[in-house]
Subunit: 529 residues, 2 copies
């Protein structure tokens, strides 16, 4: 790694990320995330706001008991208040109390904020910046200066914005971070202003962007191209409003698309997907299916021509190899896809000996098209598609026969609870199984009855859980008489698989998907034998 | 609007958007989306792939019966196959059969694809491009040429990539669209290559980007800055893999951040949020809370200093005014949010005498927030929101009391029909009404029983029809025990109104929405008296 090409990654998941609507980290989660970020190889971890939050101060204490490989912990705060000596400023004292190697302080670059929000004078604001930087430097800190609203301030008054940076430089700041706090800038503005600042001061320049214009990652990349050597952001890009710059994409782009390096060990790029998932888990957020590099769909191919292309030359429809970021290629089944997708599934099922142009493949495609016209979709219901293939190839068998079910939902009065109960009659290998299930709703009750009936005959069913349940109404204009499509995801702790059912009756559609899900598992067991 | 600054918006939600994992549009949804896009003011609507999909061909026929304001419908296809006369090429024939004003064809710019995927010669590929453009022009079409993988092809062999565009120009193409098909480019590459192409050919240049590097919107913006006058993308940015360029953000950025204009009527920008929600609903996708411009969180302020700043000067922490894109500012953990919306509803209900700062308005907001935390949304359920207001203001009354219902779904054997039956007991003005309903599913049966019970007492109920029925599962990870939200749209032929219900039990959630729908109608009748 050439020092010249090094870009420092400054992670603010635990501070600016925690400003996101719906995100809070528990104290334990903060430690987990910090240790994971260190292993991943970021340079700085901003732990929180020293002055305003006792939980954040507790984090600074707790993290000192952990051994980190290389990441430095940064405490976040602001310049001293107006008309107060820096030695007597409570916020600055809290920064020192946090006892970190690095202090990051933000100050105002935009006159509007100086006069209308802070309600102080332009000159006092400059003194606040200079004093606070100097005082922290005198106390042995590495000082990162976040120039809040720098781009907006520069557009309003270039002279004042630059003078605010000069004040930080005079105070001894180690890095000047240009912040697009409101996220309104276009990439070319970021490039121009970063270039100008880089040329003017002999101090490292950093960039902090927000995603309000959906350009946060590009803005950071353009700033680096203009000479910034420090990028601030959040893993998965959540944060105040539309979120912060997504470090997942920045790290991947820098490593794979430029001559820059940014992780302590570049091999860690392969853990990118698991880093993303870990942070979402700790923040209690859903993974974004379409996230760049790390999403479930990031290397999923649906169109027939794309599938055909990827099979011939993998990079024909992939900008980077999925394994470089710890992700996988996936081939989806849909009405837009053709024989290539079917071939891929056959190979997954170990059926390598069926020719692409065989009558079987043609028959599978015909059945699939018929089902899709009836409202089925197979892209999230791989297991139902494999059951369909087995049926066409006459390799399917039933593990049980339905004799009947009855599902009842009852409510006795406006404020009474709504009770759901299902009775089920199956014939399993000649024996009759009668069961009753209760649940939070009719489908839940039916699922309980089914699992109850089968586990005596097929004990592995005990481990199968429903992991996801989705309902779509196919022709909403026909209201409650419309067709219903149910997609169910099942899991046995090791594998997950999706199944689909369609009917005018939501209970019947759910039953169909439940049955496919159970049969798929039972076939899996047989294949293992 | 100066013609010089016009950027043409080419929407491919119904074609490239439909390539997204998890997205399929019903035939009715495609017509709805196309009409909405036309009202919104896009210039081109790509309706689908003429050759490969009978559903898409059905769309081209159906849309001819609709009157559009200004948008042109485009049929998508490819250059002719290798070594086939264009007059005899099936795909090209399908493009003509679609009978649209515009045909968009993609061709290969990257030698890798020519030799390894198409398996033809570089010269034959050029002939395919030229022939197909010329033939479509001879048949009176506006021809848009999508240069697939143009940037990757240009990086590999600038000479060949440019020769492929020359072939399109010789064939008479009206617009050369540079495609970053794999989504791997950085903004500066897009800018440089667009500049070069713009300077070289006397033909309009367009841009088509993908979001695999999380830079699709920025890439489109940089291309426009370099002279592109045509932008292709998808509302909400879904599409193959990580998705297409998000037209929501492009349209907002062009209108609010540059001197370009791009909507037939710029005032339509105020409908941006509802356009985004409508498309998600039709595609059965969840709204992205953090979406730029239109997300629920896009103008939500959580940090104390930001809230303070916004109160003092709204643009201190907002890059554009929320109302410019039809969104709202939200102050989190505060009852001040949404007061304007409530005021608006009160005025709609003829309650003009309630002050914005009154305890009643505060109470309504508190109730609304409580309900929203419980999973209710009122965006498409105006009537339920008005019922909520009536309840808070103690102006609500029940037109009937529920004594109980029982819904039963029964299936007697694998191939037997699934029968649904509901029994309902109501108390209507002291009289008891017992009814039974049958239907295609449990909700349909319950709806039949309810209407049957009421029409004796309230004859106007006879005219009420269910017009739409939608189901969302709120916490899919909890599978069938998750909460269910049901949104119902009712109509009496003159007005339509939406209601919402939430419960762990889908039947109970549906009941709640059915009751709100009926009560709203009965209040309407009383107001008319």
């Amino acid at each position: 790694m050439s020092a010249e090409n090094k870009v420092f990654i400054y992670d603010t998941t635990l501070r600016d990320g925690a400003q996101a609507e719906g995100v809070t980290f528990s104290p334990v989660a903060k430690i987990h995330v910090a240790k994971m970020l260190d292993s991943f190889g970021v340079d700085y971890i901003e732990g929180g706001f020293a002055a305003s939050n006792p939980k954040d101060m507790a984090f600074f204490k707790a993290i000192k008991n952990e051994t980190l490989k290389q990441a430095k912990i940064a405490a976040f705060g602001s310049t001293r208040r107006a008309n107060v000596k820096v030695e007597e400023d409570k916020g600055t004292a809290a920064l020192l109390e946090a006892d970190t190697d690095v202090c990051t302080i933000f100050g105002k670059s935009w006159l509007l904020h100086v006069t209308e929000v802070l309600k102080t004078t332009p000159e006092e604001n400059l003194a606040m910046i200079e004093d606070t930087c100097r005082y922290l430097k005198e106390n042995g800190k590495e000082v990162i200066y976040d120039a809040e609203h720098f781009f907006d301030g520069y557009k309003d008054s270039p002279d004042y914005a630059l003078r605010s940076l000069e004040a930080a430089v005079r105070g001894g700041a180690d890095c000047l971070v240009l912040c697009d706090t409101n996220g309104g800038c276009m990439p070319n503005e970021i490039f121009e202003v970063t270039t100008l600042v880089r040329d003017r001061f002999g101090v490292a320049v950093g960039i902090h962007t927000h995603n309000d214009s959906e350009t946060a990652v590009a803005n950071a990349m353009e700033s680096v191209r203009a000479g910034a050597v420090h990028v601030q952001g959040v893993i998965n890009g959540f944060g105040e409003r539309c979120g912060n710059c997504n470090l997942v994409s920045v790290v991947a782009n820098l490593n794979l698309k430029t001559d820059k390096t940014c992780l302590a060990d570049p091999a860690q790029l392969k853990s990118l997907k698991s880093v993303s998932q870990f942070v979402n888990e700790q923040a209690n957020l859903r993974d974004n299916q379409r996230a760049a590099f790390v999403g479930e769909s990031a290397f999923a191919h649906k169109a027939g021509m794309h599938v055909d292309g990827v099979r011939k030359v993998s990079h024909s429809f992939e900008h980077v190899p999925p394994e470089s970021v710890g992700n996988d290629r996936r081939i989806l089944i849909s009405e837009l896809s053709g024989a290539s997708n079917v071939m891929e599934k056959l190979i997954e099922m170990g059926l390598n000996n069926i020719d692409r142009k065989s009558p079987e493949v043609r028959e599978i495609l015909k059945m699939m098209e018929k089902q899709e016209r009836g409202g089925y979709v197979y892209e999230s219901a791989d297991a139902s598609f494999k059951m369909l293939i087995k049926k066409v190839l006459k390799e399917h068998k039933s593990f049980f026969e339905l004799e009947g079910f009855r599902v009842m939902v009852e409510k006795r009065g406006k404020n009474a609870p709504c009770v759901s109960e299902a009775t089920l009659k199956l014939n399993v290998n000649g024996k009759r199984a009668f069961t009753v299930g209760e649940g939070d709703g009719p489908v839940d009750a039916l699922n309980m009855a089914l699992r109850h009936a089968l586990q005596e005959f097929y004990p592995s069913i005990r481990h199968v859980q429903l992991a996801d349940y989705r309902v779509s109404i196919l022709d909403p204009e026909e209201a409650t008489a419309a067709k219903t499509r149910v997609v169910i995801e099942s899991s046995d702790g090791e594998n997950t698989w999706g199944t689909v059912g369609v009917s005018e009756n939501i209970i019947e559609a759910s039953w169909e998907a439940l049955v496919d899900g159970v049969e798929y598992k039972l076939f899996l067991n047989e294949d293992k034998k």
